[in-house]
Subunit: 426 residues, 2 copies
């Protein structure tokens, strides 16, 4: 690649166009958080999700990119290479949000890849390899658990039908919601599913907001992401017996709420970590019958447990079931592991390219691990993989107050453009 | 009243007819509980509730009773007295159920009053005073909190518009649901609301299943209810901040689920009672955003607290707010008292009549306090008031496994018939 190529592409990245696209997408599922913060609720496979995909499809095809979709709903926009037979460079993220999410988590990675490709094309720069912009299906896992279904299926980590019977809180099956989406996109060419039905990509680069405070506190523009901590998700079901809150003596009850309180108390002890590295979260609770004067018969609650060390993940995660069973008084306990992603380490081919681009562009960069999981971790076994972070104001994410400025977002996209140009010519 | 009157009426009570009516009503909202138990989910002001009211209305008007409804949806079926100007004797209960309720709670009291009146009429027995069968609106309080709205408004304890803005879990306002019901019953004469717009009743008698194990364990047929323990209901709202479960350090979180666990733990200590008389229940929890990987921003949970001693109710109930505020780490706490019913003591005119009837009929009776609250407690200030209990199998209620046998139900109705005949001639 001539030395002039990357600077031209980098200069063609439009801060305003990228911001306008993000704001247009933020209209789809717009919500208002505390203090009027403009958030987004656009969960996977909803009509709003389909509408957002149409918007991005329109921008991509207007640019001359070729759209396609696979059986999991992963959406691709292909910029052709001068040697179309070479394995493509993939770049993107996800378009679904949390129920009370922000305007940048996921969606920026898709728009950044589109903007980077547009910049390359507008600068008249051809690449040897194709570049494919990708939007992975259901990364968040908030409507249908677990997250990262699209990238897991693409990578062959789970068969594509694995989650068909998973239901959302309204009882809609994932398989049915996916079929509805695919039917609405029957005009798009269908492509084979990832490495099950095609070649591995040459490389994968995902741009994402940090979702933590480290870059902002360090005064850095760019995070060279070194890897992702591992995650284990569990669903706990406690079954007791309903009873009349006025007549049933407390001593004789099988109260699922009280056993949940005992279980969480014991789990807090199991998960204690003076170094504050371990992440243990109970954030979703469903009580039945959930009537104030009927003792709870069942409680379901979730556990989200993360750590960068595989040994800690294994030891404490495997102790969860015995901890709960030792803590409850008289409810039956059922534990299901819904998600298990080992810690991932990113490839030097990508981390070094990110570092070079940041340096060339005069940006302050630092190496940083990812606390959140991302689709990128499932690409690690397939090809050299990496991520680019930009700062999140006060580290806030999964919240309408999530914010990164137009110039911070453009800085990240300029680094991505240079990295994609380099990888697509390698 | 001649000595022959009551025996004739008592003999006319039909065990089979009463059971068939209860089973027909149990079809409306039929659900299946654990082990296939046939329960009912027919909550207040739902289309199923309206359908059940039509069924009862049909039976009552076929019998020659006069129907009317008041502004709160309380439904009346009037058996005329030989002296129509005298204050009526009221008897009934409620027709709404818990979301996972049984086939007898409430509805039996309405059907028993109807059966008792039918028996009097079929035995050709006239009464000096009118007898009105009543079905009170929303006793359970499970769809719209609190319970006993109909009887509270009837008694002038709260103005009728008090609960208009209360919403159910789907956001439907009580006022709107009530207006829909009343519109569907526009063919019924509208009557004034209780003692606000009419005279006080002469007496009120409510038949109800015990909902506890005492009568069964004592081998008794009839409970002569002495009074009702007091109840205080609260709604607790904890407000923290949502955050990403993978990135936000545990030490910096404002996690509403964790503060709920702390609050319930402290309340358990406040509510400790070695005598096992006190009833403390947390049975309804709502978490937002309720996504497994977003730290909980808000938790709402209910408190149901009951005790027969007004001093205990006052002291411990008033300590709830400070106990929660002392227990949480960093969430904002808001406490709302939604219901406050003082302990009630029933009138000797009624308890003695119940005792006499049970003795006359050769039934085993005992005096018993009520652990559950009932519409009856709001009638206490208006007129001599009392209740008749029959056994509940294993004490189970608010559960599809709730059961009383056809003959147990008929025994209760025979006692009610004799008591109503006596009171309506006094």
């Amino acid at each position: 690649m001539p030395a002039t190529v990357a600077p031209n592409a980098v200069a063609a990245v439009s801060e305003a166009r990228q911001w306008d696209r993000l704001m247009a997408l933020a209209e789809l599922g717009a919500i208002t958080g505390a203090d009027g913060a403009p958030g987004v609720n656009r969960q996977a496979l909803t009509p709003l999700d389909a509408e957002a995909r149409r918007l991005v499809l329109g921008w991509g095809t207007a640019l001359g990119l070729t759209a396609s979709v696979d059986v999991l709903g992963n959406l691709f926009l292909r910029h052709e290479g001068t040697e179309p037979g070479l394995a493509p460079v993939l770049s993107g993220s996800h378009m679904d949000s949390q129920p009370a999410g922000g305007r940048f988590d996921g969606i920026w990675g898709v728009i950044a890849a589109l903007e980077a490709v547009q910049a390359l094309r507008e600068a008249g720069i051809a690449t040897r390899r194709p570049i494919e912009v990708v939007a992975w299906t259901n990364e968040e896992g908030s409507r249908f658990a677990p997250g990262c279904m699209g990238s897991m299926a693409y990578a062959g980590y789970r068969p594509p039908e694995t989650w068909d019977a998973v239901t959302d809180p309204e009882g809609i099956r994932f398989g049915d919601a996916l079929a509805t989406l695919l039917a609405s996109e029957a005009d798009l060419p269908r492509r084979g599913l990832g490495v099950l039905e095609g070649p591995a990509p040459h490389a994968y680069v995902e741009a994402h907001i940090e979702q933590g405070p480290i870059l902002e506190e360090a005064g850095c523009d760019i995070g060279i992401v070194t890897g992702i901590q591992g995650s284990r998700w569990f669903l706990v079901e406690l079954t007791g017996a309903s009873a009349h809150a006025g007549t049933a003596p407390v001593s004789t009850r099988r109260d699922a709420v009280q056993d949940m309180v005992r279980a969480i108390g014991a789990l807090n002890v199991l998960m204690e970590d003076p170094t504050d590295v371990l992440r243990f979260t109970v954030a979703s609770i469903e009580v039945k019958p959930n009537s104030s004067n009927s003792v709870a018969e069942t409680v379901k609650f979730t556990i989200d447990f993360r750590h960068p060390d595989a040994a800690v993940l294994r030891a404490r995660g495997d102790a969860i079931e015995a901890t709960i069973k030792g803590a409850v008084r008289n409810c039956a306990v059922s534990l299901t592991e819904r998600f298990n992603a080992a810690p991932a380490v990113f490839a030097p081919e990508v981390t070094e390219a990110v570092a070079r681009a940041a340096t060339a562009q005069g940006l302050r960069a630092m190496h940083i691990p990812s606390g959140a999981f991302h689709d990128a971790q499932f690409l690690v076994p397939l090809c050299p993989t990496g991520m680019i972070f930009i700062p999140s104001r006060k580290g806030i994410s999964h919240n309408p107050a999530e914010y990164s400025s137009p110039s911070q977002l453009a800085q990240g996209t300029r680094v991505l453009a240079q990295v994609l140009a380099e990888l697509a010519n390698s």
